[in-house]
């Protein structure tokens, strides 16, 4: 396996795609899960979506990825209506890692990552050297090269999560959407995943990640989106938007917000439930 000439994560097909939600409403049947949200995650940045359980974070992500058709408003990709884009073309621009992804038994890491090339293949366009290079780059970027031949079921939770992220990276999309990629991981593995996501964003991608852990979001996000009951209640750099009022409003928790002396990022210290 030859090391790629350019930095592994700097290979997005079109690193500067702009994804924009324009007054998007998403509904499950009659119940509105996401209510007229305007959002434009900045390219080249890591955007974190936070909020209490059931606030519509995951639905928002599904809406941004064309999985969930908006009941109102539009999602625009470089100014074009995402819902009108052919599925395969959209998948070449937007990668999605849903929650609790499952793989059949017997697959190796490399097998799984190869699936990421699916949107780039067609009837006449079979597996090519470019596909293999993309897979190799994704394995390198996620630090999974040494484990490429291992069976998925023999990996630890953190390694398996990295393998899934590698699949999404191999898709080589300008936009990466991840739904709680760290939910089942310990602290070390959580940081590992976020360091990786930050690198991917630094290479020019638009990275949006739904995350439960406010501490991680404050530590790593360039851009924070706070949601409650389907609406966006705050948006901006963590050090500007994370305040005791926001924490109380989101979670009903009294908290102090300190400054990390090293990074000047907010540190949330919960004190108790709000009266």
């Amino acid at each position: 396996m030859t090391p790629p000439a350019t930095p592994p994560s700097a290979q997005a097909a079109d690193p500067s795609a702009v994804l924009r939600a324009d007054g998007v409403t998403l509904a499950h049947g009659q119940a509105i899960a996401v209510d007229t949200i305007r959002l434009a995650p900045p390219p080249g940045r890591l955007t974190a979506v936070v909020g209490p359980n059931g606030c519509g974070k995951s639905t928002l992500l599904a809406g941004l990825s064309r999985l969930h058709r908006p009941a109102g408003g539009t999602v625009l990709l470089d100014g074009r209506d995402l819902a009108r884009l052919p599925a395969r073309e959209a998948a070449r621009r937007i990668g999605l890692l849903p929650q609790s992804a499952q793989a059949p038994d017997g697959l190796t890491v490399a097998d799984l990552v190869r699936f990421g090339r699916q949107p780039h293949q067609g009837l006449l366009r079979q597996w090519s050297p470019q596909d293999q290079q993309a897979v190799d780059r994704a394995l390198t970027a996620t630090g999974m090269t040494a484990l490429a031949g291992r069976l998925l079921e023999t990996l630890s939770g953190g390694q398996r999560q990295r393998a899934w992220i590698a699949l999404t990276v191999a898709q080589e999309t300008a936009v990466l959407l991840l739904d709680e990629p760290t939910s089942a991981l310990d602290l070390g593995h959580q940081l590992e995943v976020f360091e990786l996501l930050r690198e991917l964003a630094a290479a020019g991608r638009t990275v949006v990640v739904v995350v439960h852990d406010l501490m991680l979001a404050c530590r790593y996000a360039d851009h924070l989106v706070a949601m409650k009951a389907g609406r966006m209640v705050a948006e901006g750099a963590p050090r500007e938007v994370v305040t005791p009022e926001l924490i109380r409003r989101l979670y009903g928790v009294e908290a102090g917000v300190l400054r990390d002396p090293d990074t000047d990022r907010p540190l949330v210290v919960p004190r108790g439930l709000a009266p």
């Binding site: 599904a62 990825s65 064309r66 999985l67 599925a87 395969r88 073309e89 959209a90 998948a91 070449r92 937007i94 990668g95 999605l96 890692l97 849903p98 992804a101 499952q102 793989a103 059949p104 038994d105 017997g106 697959l107 097998d111 699936f115 990421g116 699916q118 949107p119 293949q121 009837l123 079979q126 597996w127 079921e153 999404t168 898709q171």
Partner: protein
């Protein structure tokens, strides 16, 4: 997927094709008139002893073709259903298609007022069972699991109908209906075989066309959708192919037990876990049915054991062996 990338799948396909050839040679060779391949193969082409030609072309040939087609259809159908339901136990047998075909065919034999031939009734029964299961499960939809569970229920009801019909029928009629409850290639109505041939010719290419998208679908619906697969359309196409193949196959041979369960299992073993081995399953099914039928008509001669009984008898232990010798694993 290129041969270079998937040598194992290509090799597996070759192995299974070899198994089919062995099964064909055996089926032509053995019987009341034993015949070496040196005699049977020229006879197939119309050369050699007229008696040999008669045996091969009129007796063994058509039965062989029926066996190959039925096995291929059941194997492919089982493979698709298992993939759709993400469950290795989902087959035309478990989702009620076999039971539907049996119930309708038995009804026709024991003299419920119908003018349709048993094989046409079997096809109608398979279609009815599939339509019932689909309708009650709310369409091809997103959840293969729901389709399987509803299919189990539909199958149980139709199985009870079969039992009721057999119990109330005169003993002679019940006897005549017996082959339709176990599956055999002895009856094999010519029209049904022809129809199955056309069905396979249309269905298998379609299944191969969506093969790669199907293998992505095994990951989970949302991952597949994120990779640009039109999940609903692919599911619907695969389900249609599976139901048509199974329906046409049971119209020829009745419910051949275990074939749709075993063939994909064997194909996955040989071809590796990466793809969905539709073609491999078809080949494995063809070999399995042909060997089972050959064994059934020769081992206990002059008594003929229905192929469906043979597949069930060798299938049960074989399945257990497969499951016990494979690594401990979750059901996909």
């Amino acid at each position: 997927m290129s041969l270079l990338l998937r040598p194992r799948a290509a090799l597996g396909g070759a192995v299974l094709a070899g198994a089919v050839l062995v099964a064909v040679a055996t089926a032509l060779a053995v019987g009341t008139v034993p015949m070496s391949p040196l005699r049977s193969l020229p006879a197939l082409a119309g050369a050699g002893d007229p008696a040999d030609i008669l045996v091969v072309q009129r007796l063994r040939g058509p039965r062989l073709v029926a066996g190959l087609l039925v096995g291929a259809a059941l194997g492919a159908s089982g493979c698709l259903m298992q993939t759709l339901a993400r469950n290795r136990l989902a087959t035309p047998g478990t989702v009620g298609i076999d039971d539907g075909a049996t119930a309708f065919a038995v009804a026709s034999v024991v003299g419920a007022s119908t003018s349709l031939a048993p094989s046409a009734m079997a096809l109608a029964g398979a279609a009815t069972a599939a339509a019932l299961a689909l309708g009650l499960a709310g369409g091809a939809g997103t959840s293969g699991y729901r389709f399987v569970v509803v299919g189990l229920g539909v199958g149980a009801v139709l199985g009870a109908v079969t039992s009721l019909l057999l119990v109330r029928a005169p003993i002679d009629a019940a006897n005549a209906a017996f082959p339709w409850t176990v599956g055999t290639l002895n009856t094999r109505p010519a029209a049904a075989v022809t129809l199955l041939g056309y069905g396979l010719a249309g269905c298998l290419p379609l299944a191969l066309l969506i093969g790669r998208r199907l293998s992505v679908l095994r990951l989970s619906d949302s991952v597949a959708a994120g990779l640009g697969v039109r999940v609903r359309a692919v599911r619907l196409a695969a389900l249609a192919v599976a139901v048509v193949c199974a329906g046409l196959a049971v119209a020829v041979g009745g419910p051949l037990g275990m074939v749709a369960l075993l063939a994909p299992e064997a194909a996955r073993r040989v071809c590796g876990p990466y793809g969905v081995p539709v073609l491999g399953s078809a080949l494995a099914g063809a070999a399995l049915v042909l060997l089972a039928d050959t064994a059934g008509r020769t081992l206990a001669a002059p008594v003929e054991v229905p192929a469906g009984l043979v597949t069930a008898v060798i299938g049960g232990p074989y399945l257990l062996w497969l499951l016990l010798t494979s690594r401990p694993r979750r059901l996909p």
